[in-house]
């Protein structure tokens, strides 16, 4: 497994840079991961999306369906790609500390 270095710590990530242990996720780590996703600054909208994803994951153990995300955050699919260029699954979920989405999604 590859590792990334954050605040002097070695953090385990998968081949695509998703952290392996969601429980170590913090705001600072999110900001750090955002930089790897070509997000220079986490704006209020970025946080709204990331917090929603993180909270849903804590409750249900999976990422929320994309339609639910857009409806409940009011951020459209197109806007998500503007916020996170690699999209909701690869970009936003990674920053929110979720594991990489699996299955036929």
């Amino acid at each position: 497994m590859p590792f990334i270095e954050f605040n002097g710590q070695q953090i385990e990530v998968d081949e695509d840079g998703f952290i392996q242990d969601p429980s170590i996720w913090t705001k600072e780590l999110a900001e750090f991961l955002a930089k790897t996703e070509e997000v220079e600054e986490m704006t209020e909208k970025h946080w709204k999306l990331v917090n929603y994803l993180h909270d849903y994951y804590e409750k249900f153990g999976i990422a929320p369906m994309i339609r639910k995300v857009t409806k409940e955050t009011g951020i459209s699919n197109k806007e998500i790609y503007e916020l996170f260029p690699s999209g909701p699954a690869k970009g936003a979920c990674k920053v929110a500390g979720l594991p990489k989405p699996t299955g036929c999604v």
């Binding site: 081949e15 999976i62 369906m65 339609r67 639910k68 699996t102 299955g103 036929c104 999604v105």
Partner: protein
């Protein structure tokens, strides 16, 4: 003919040392795409591979890597283990005792090939690659055949121990063969065309099986995050019962907001006629599909239910792509859910490999007390259309539509007519792809490719394995491709195919530029329902707004 810049690859090349890469991705050598993607400049440039995996994984076949845990051995012992385990796995797949279900077609395919190459002409990956030798269907088979010939006797028992000085076999051969087993979509177009009925797709799958069962090597999305996660949580998406129920509640609200109808989706209804099973990816990525099924089934007054039991809400079975044992375990659990619910039959939603797994592959391996009739949803949907239980106003689908035929239920099960008869009723501008029906081409996502995205495998899919399908799509819409005001709908009634097609459209930016849209069949049916007072398809709703 090999591509312009390409040297002919021979079987001997498979054992070249790891610093020799047999072929390199090259857009100039690939099959030409139709307008507006007819120049290399109109296609996205290939990406230079980067990351630690380029040193670790098996990139020295063709520059791509698809299997996360197939890595270069670091010691002589590891090299030996790789080869020896492969050989013992080979003996097992060629033994009546350990491969009873597959041994007959496998032996026929290994022993009777006359190398006529009819299959090569039929293979979309071989054609799309510009006829790159390593992707020729019989090339892979021949590598396996020669190893078997050298190491097994007439009774198919291992008769030799591997010697590291063997001029014909080294660890690099095995490593390359492992990756090469994942350059085939298992679409079986080659098997259909073979004059002797031999199946090179099966050979690819059996190689995958050796790697999985004997060596513990398989793509992570198929095994660790696939069948293993499904056995643990009930779904390859990791969806648990509470998550499933949350999603269904959301879909019910969404239906009401979208079309103004209050629909209660039946869950765990004992003794219902139908247990409808969906690929759980539909709930996550395409909830409009299970919603459309609910709308149609309710309108037609069917006695149906979904299941919230573990494995009852995910019809996928990735086991059939790489590991029969995993396939059987999952199938058994899925059938058990239906038996315990007391339904009369399982109706399989729009998922191709779930059709093949539940209706065909498991027919011989899950029997007895778990037996339950399994049927495709397509003939049922045609029945509801034909008998007028569902009434349509086809003028609502006033845009060009083409149909993609999922290999798993079209070629493998012969379900060809229902979906076309429905389209003739609901889509006045329906046109076929060329060729179609049982002669269709794979979407390029088959055999697990649609969900294999680690390292640089997605680029192989988007540029090579889906290339033939993209060509067919562009040709089907040649009359209107230039006009971005006209939406062009690719009807793909299969979750896996939809995933592959979604990625093609995204990769080539074809929705944004040329208004190519895609979704399943039931969405198009709901859009044309006479009783609906507003459009159902997302791109029509957006247009209105």
């Amino acid at each position: 003919m090999a591509g312009k810049n390409r040297k002919l690859i021979t079987l001997q090349d498979m054992k070249k040392p790891q610093d020799v890469q047999l072929s390199a991705p090259d857009l100039n050598s690939y099959m030409k795409l139709p307008k507006p993607y007819d120049t290399v400049e109109s296609q996205p440039a290939l990406k230079e591979p980067k990351g630690s995996w380029t040193e670790k994984n098996i990139t020295f076949l063709d520059g791509y890597a698809g299997i996360e845990n197939l890595v270069r051995p670091e010691t002589k012992e590891e090299e030996r283990a790789l080869v020896e385990k492969f050989l013992s796995g080979l003996e097992k797949i060629l033994s009546d005792d350990t491969n009873r279900a597959m041994i007959q077609p496998l032996l026929l395919s290994l022993e009777y090939c006359a190398k006529c190459n009819t299959c090569s002409e039929a293979c979309h990956i071989f054609e799309a690659s510009g006829k790159n030798e390593i992707y020729r269907p019989i090339f892979r088979a021949e590598v396996l055949r020669r190893i078997a010939k050298n190491y097994l006797d007439k009774n198919r028992k291992l008769v030799r121990k591997w010697d590291e000085n063997d001029p014909d076999l080294n660890w690099e051969t095995i490593a390359r063969l492992g990756e090469l087993a994942y350059r085939c979509n298992l679409c079986r177009r080659c098997a259909q065309t073979c004059p002797l009925g031999l199946d090179n797709g099966l050979i690819a799958k059996e190689i995958r099986k050796i790697f999985s069962q004997e060596m513990g090597i398989a793509p992570k999305p198929l095994h660790e995050k696939g069948t293993m996660l499904q056995l643990k949580t009930g779904s390859t998406t990791g969806m648990t019962k509470p998550a499933f129920l949350d999603i269904i509640e959301f879909i019910e609200e969404d239906i009401e907001e979208k079309i103004g109808r209050k629909i209660k989706i039946p869950i765990d209804k004992k003794g219902a006629d139908i247990l409808l099973t969906h690929n759980a990816g539909e709930f996550m990525a395409w909830p409009q599909n299970p919603a459309a099924f609910a709308i149609l089934f309710e309108e037609a007054g069917l006695d149906w239910t979904l299941s919230s039991e573990i494995t009852g809400y995910d019809s996928v079975n990735y086991g059939i792509w790489y590991d029969d044992y995993q396939a059987k375990q999952i199938g058994t659990l899925q059938f058990k859910v239906a038996r315990e619910l007391g339904v009369k039959r399982i109706i399989i939603g729009e998922c191709g490999h779930a059709h093949r797994a539940a209706a065909v592959s498991l027919d011989r391996s899950v029997t007895g007390e778990h037996y339950i009739p399994r049927e495709s949803s397509l003939p049922l949907l045609w029945e509801l259309t034909r008998t007028g239980k569902l009434k349509f106003d086809p003028s609502k689908n006033n845009f060009p539509v083409t149909l993609h035929d999922p290999c798993n239920y079209v070629r493998s099960m012969g379900i060809v007519k229902p979906q076309r008869e429905i389209l003739k009723v609901i889509a006045p501008m329906f046109r076929e792809m060329t060729p179609h029906g049982v002669d269709n081409y794979c979407c390029g996502g088959g055999g697990g490719f649609a969900i294999m995205n680690s390292m640089n495998f997605a680029e192989f899919r988007n540029t090579v394995s889906t290339r033939k399908k993209f060509q067919q799509i562009l040709n089907a819409f040649a009359d209107t491709i230039d006009n971005p005001d006209i939406p062009k709908y690719i009807c793909a009634p299969c979750s896996n195919c939809k995933g592959a097609i979604r990625d093609i459209l995204e990769y080539y930016d074809a929705t944004e530029k040329y208004n190519l849209q895609y979704d399943g069949l039931v969405e198009l049916m709901v859009n044309a329902l006479a009783s609906m007072d507003r459009p159902y398809l997302e791109f029509l709703i957006e247009e209105e707004e």
